[in-house]
């Protein structure tokens, strides 16, 4: 086994450099289906984060107990239990949001991102690292979901965090923004094609930022390092 990653590495990997949605393109079903508004994206992101932290933690705790042949069914059992739990809790405490996201909450079970982290990380690492990884990956996913949701909502209907109070309570009315009824939104943004176009633009933006950063790094180094321009 390779040397365990540092905490900082786990965190930055989950949130940015190995972002499961922008880099690995996992969990696209909820990404495309639920991000019609920033609030929905945030809600879905938080639900996913809760599930992934719990499942990562559990999987890591039992990693020496579970024989390799049955690890996948065990992962699925663990994840399914937590998803059902999240679904019940959401129904009990955020019923309005549940009505919007309902169908997709149960689909978190088949989100490859979660079983992917359980298999690739949690089953090979100590519980503290597994929890942190779950948190980082969940945070990365929440960020993407919320940003894409906000983008689609803003372009589509000229609002941002509309109905955020459903999720966050009454104080959130302060952060919801609206351009008013005269805004002619491009409906396509809220429809499924808008999710694909928006995701494509976000991936492009991430690649652009990474490329810029790399170029700056290369430029900062002495001339000897110059031929090392990454093939694009």
């Amino acid at each position: 086994m390779s040397a365990p990653q540092s905490y900082g590495h786990i965190l930055s990997g989950g949130v940015w450099s190995n972002n499961q949605m922008l880099v690995a393109l996992l969990g696209l079903c909820p990404l495309l289906a639920t991000t019609t508004s920033a609030t929905n994206g945030l809600g879905m992101g938080l639900a996913t984060t809760a599930v992934i932290v719990c499942s990562n933690g559990t999987v890591s705790l039992v990693r020496n107990l579970v024989r390799p042949e049955i690890r996948i069914p065990v992962f699925v059992l663990v994840i399914a239990s937590f998803v059902t739990l999240v679904e019940l809790i959401m129904q009990a405490f955020f019923y309005d949001l549940y009505q919007v996201l309902g169908l997709f909450i149960s689909l978190i079970v088949v989100n490859c991102m979660i079983i992917g982290r359980a298999e690739a990380f949690a089953s090979k690492n100590r519980v503290d690292r597994a929890l942190l990884d779950g948190l980082a990956v969940g945070l990365g996913a929440t960020l993407v979901l919320t940003t894409l949701g906000g983008l689609r909502e803003f372009v589509g209907q000229g609002t941002l965090f509309f109905q955020a109070d459903l999720l966050l309570g009454d104080w959130a009315k302060a952060i919801s923004l609206s351009l008013g009824d005269d805004f002619h939104g491009a409906l396509i943004a809220i429809l499924p094609p808008g999710a694909f176009i928006g995701l494509g633009l976000m991936i492009a933006l991430k690649n652009l930022i990474d490329q810029r950063a790399k170029r700056r790094q290369v430029a900062a180094q002495p001339a000897s390092a110059q031929p090392v321009t990454a093939p694009t």
Binding site: G185, A186, L187, I188, A189, L191, P193, I197, A204
Partner: protein, 346 residues
């Protein structure tokens, strides 16, 4: 041409992109004239606006990419995209929708994929669909054709409507607009009327909706010109029109009271424009001959299906985009066998 006597072998002249595009624009002229005659000045205003926006967008992107805008502009492909777009949208579309459409077509659909030759989708049709889905009301508000219109719009009235959204004094939208033949057919069929009853309305002409049938004929003429100049081959247009005709004939034969005739389908909506000018776009269509036949026929079939059972009135744009994405796969499976080899080269 400098040489008037050409000896054999008579290899066809190599077409340069700008010459091809110029010829396509020439071939569009009859259609543009007929549409202007029936739908007024708005069409020409839209053409000018769309071309201006497209050229501006192309220039900006080329500058951003660190290249000379002239290279991209000289091939006239942006102009063709703009004109095809302007011919597809309602002639009184608000200017900012034309702007959005052209930005989408040139920046997102064309240049982000690498510019002319690399775009998988037809930019004009992608822009049309983008706007249709986003702004369905504006994109389906057509003017009544000349002869049926209560009040044909003058040049200034059209300009004001496009730039400002101001209706001519004393008129409401309902007085100016009218359902397209495809819309009317679908709506009245849903009401339970038969084709015969629908056809008795004064909005119907000889081949299809009044006015619209002549637009179709004009584009057919332009298409024949393109064929004659050998800028396109017959495969895509003929197979597309045949695909549409065959499907329409089948259903028409089953029940001519509730399914419009194949002639109606051929001369309504964007069937002719699509067959000769849009589906034949060399960048986004199939390249093998067999592939082009499959490509065209599938478009014809999809057009019929969406027109009859889909959620939006016309279907050429959707059908073309769907087949655009399928074109590489079709090409892959229809590559001609290399002589002496057993199977297709990969």
């Amino acid at each position: 041409m400098p040489n008037s006597v050409i000896s054999s072998p008579h290899v066809p002249r190599v077409n340069r992109v700008d010459r091809v595009m110029l010829d396509v624009l020439l071939a569009l002229i009859p259609g543009i004239l007929v549409m202007t005659w029936f739908f007024g000045w708005g069409l020409l205003i839209n053409c000018v606006l769309a071309v201006t926006f497209a050229v501006a967008a192309e220039t900006v992107v080329m500058l951003l990419r660190g290249r000379s805008p002239l290279i991209a502009l000289r091939d006239l492909s942006a102009v063709v995209t703009a004109v095809l777009f302007a011919l597809s949208v309602p002639p009184i579309l608000p200017w900012w929708l034309t702007l959005l459409g052209m930005l989408f077509a040139i920046i997102l659909v064309k240049q982000l994929y690498g510019g002319l030759g690399y775009n998988p989708f037809n930019p004009a049709m992608a822009a049309y669909v983008f706007l249709l889905i986003s702004y369905p009301v504006a994109m389906t508000t057509w003017l009544a054709p000349a002869g049926l219109a209560e009040h044909p719009l003058s040049f200034m009235e059209s300009l004001r409507l496009i730039l400002n959204g101001t209706l001519p004094t004393g008129f409401e939208w309902d007085a100016l607009s009218s359902a397209t033949p495809l819309d009317e057919m679908r709506g009245k069929l849903d009401l339970g009327q038969t084709i015969e009853q629908i056809g008795q309305s004064q909005t119907w002409g000889w081949l299809g909706g009044r006015g619209w049938e002549w637009v179709g004929v004009a584009f057919l003429l332009g298409g024949v010109y393109l064929l004659w100049r050998r800028l396109i081959t017959w495969h895509i247009p003929v197979s597309m029109l045949l695909g549409l005709t065959a499907t329409a004939t089948l259903f028409w034969a089953i029940d001519p009271h509730t399914h419009p005739s194949p002639i109606f389908h051929l001369f309504s909506g964007a069937a002719m424009l699509g067959a000769f000018f849009i589906a034949t776009d060399p960048v986004t269509a199939c390249t093998t001959k067999k592939g082009q036949l499959v490509f065209g026929a599938s478009i014809g079939l999809i057009v019929y299906v969406i027109r009859s059972w889909g959620g939006y009135p016309d279907a050429v744009a959707f059908a073309v985009l769907l087949m655009n994405i399928a074109a590489p796969t079709i090409d892959y499976y229809t590559q001609p066998r290399v002589f002496g080899h057993g199977s297709a080269r990969t």
